[in-house]
Amino acid sequence: MRLRNAFLAPTAILMAVTMLAPLAIIVVYSLLTRGAYGGVELPWTLENFTRLWDPVYGVIFVRSFWIAAVSTALCLILGFPLAMFIARSGPRKNLYLSLVILPFWTSFLIRTYAWMFLLRDTGIVNSALQGLGIIREPLALLYNDGVVILGLVYGFLPFMVLPLYATLERLDPSLLEAAADLGARPRDTLVRVTLPLCAPGIRAGAILVFVPCLGTYLTSDLLGGSKTVLIGNLVQNQFTASRDWPFGAALSLALMAIAMILLFAARRRGEELL
């Protein structure tokens, strides 16, 4: 037992220093007053939290939730068949899994820029469509909500596929055979056997996609052209252009609280997560 603690100590200390200490700083900052040019000053105040009830921020939270929810749903719709395909592709499994992970070899920023080059007015997509005579004027593919969702789905799809794959791979094929033997059509098997058994994977994937989507700021900046702010952009602005650190800290705590509530809500069923 003591030996176990000794091996755990480095991780425990690392977690305490790199997670709890910054979190404590954020909590302290959120309760202080903004300095005139950034930074924080006394006195202590709760004003940063009361400001959160301003409807303008409510609109931003609702919008961010909506975009994160749509992206998560699309990831699920696209990721489930893919995970199923990989789980059933026998010896090629590892190859396909590597391909799913392959994009992580390049930075997300660079891949987002690549999308910009594809989608801009003089980009490959518009040039090709014009060259084929399908359109005359370039389509406005960049700088709207749809392309922000596209960027998020693209970026976070692997986070949905991997946990789904993990559950589908463990799924006992004899259960599916039993369902067929008992007269279930493939659709019934999917809805009444496969999906319920995959619920933990779906929940884990949904959380892994939804939470980072909720906090995203890069995608909305680059692909959305900064025309609308999401929570992530709002937090970022407080620490840069607006120089209002305490309010930025309060906003990020609110975001964290929401993510925690979602985690607990997803866990309540008593099933293991991940």
Binding site: R34, A36, Y37, G38, G39, D54, V56, Y57, V59, I60, R63, R120, D121, T122, A140, L142, Y143, D221, G224, G225, S226, K227, T228, V229, N233, L234, N237, F239, T240, A241, S242, R243, D244
Partner: protein, 338 residues
Amino acid sequence: MNRRTFLIGAAAAVACGRAARLNVFNWSDYVSPDTIPNFEREFGIRVRYGTYESVPEMLAKVMSGNSGWDVIFPSAEYIQPMRDMGLLARLRHDWLPNLSMLDRQFQKPPWDPGLDWSVPYMHGATGIVYQKSLGWTPRAWSDLWDARLAGKLTMLDDPPEVFAACLKTLGYSLNSADPGELKAAQQRAIAQKPLVRAYLNAEVRDQLVAGDVSAAQAWAVTAAQAIAAAPEKLAFAFPSEGFPRYADNVAILRESSRQEAAHHFIAYLLRPQVAAAIVETTHTAACNGAAQAFLPEALRSDPVLYPPADILARGEWFAPQSAAGQRLRDRLWTEIKT
């Protein structure tokens, strides 16, 4: 140098185990590739060179007072606040014999008339870059509300700049902190938003060159780089209502224990040849007037970088905002973006 000071110096050098150091924290793309190596070679000082993308980013790091940086490059409107926060060291003019190299308008800049805390480095303005093929010429900020630009117009993703353009179309100062004026400016920005393709900063350069964007609110630096890449297609206008001017300055942090080396570095940057080489690389306008003589004709007479005095007279410098004014602007800006 007598023998004793030499021995002390040598002992100190041995104790440190390396040559003297200087820590320089600058905007990205703001020196020529040989600026730093040449300084290191000539002065025997090793430079640790870091870059930042915005003043708030730099400020967040140096505000602690033990950031480890010696020389920084704040924008004009931050000199007064940084002085008030006690971050800047008073400059010793006896170590800066070539301050006279500065252009006349920067000998007594409004943000630091005695050059006690900062030395103007590079300057520029904000204006409109447009495609010559447009068929008409945007001359004023108010032209950026023209429906013909719908979907082909970008504005800067920088609250002070967008407010500046809106305030100028209404005839107000771009530094206004008056709630009524700012709300009116916000209404202008909201009215313009349906036409706006995106809010972009330096990224707009490629889209201007590629022809994706017809007109853009842009910094003169970005404009000069875009025009250099596509001179037959693009042109720049200094808006008739007036426009923002900006200047970046070099200053020394009070925390620095290398004041003398830092002064050497500033004096080195003030050399006309050094400043001219930086202008050639970065396409910015040097505050160093004497550098003009060392520039190629094309840059020296570049109307975007070095406009004539009667145009510059329409410019207005950004000034520091009060905390209350800043907060109101933040809120209004968030509403524009929602």
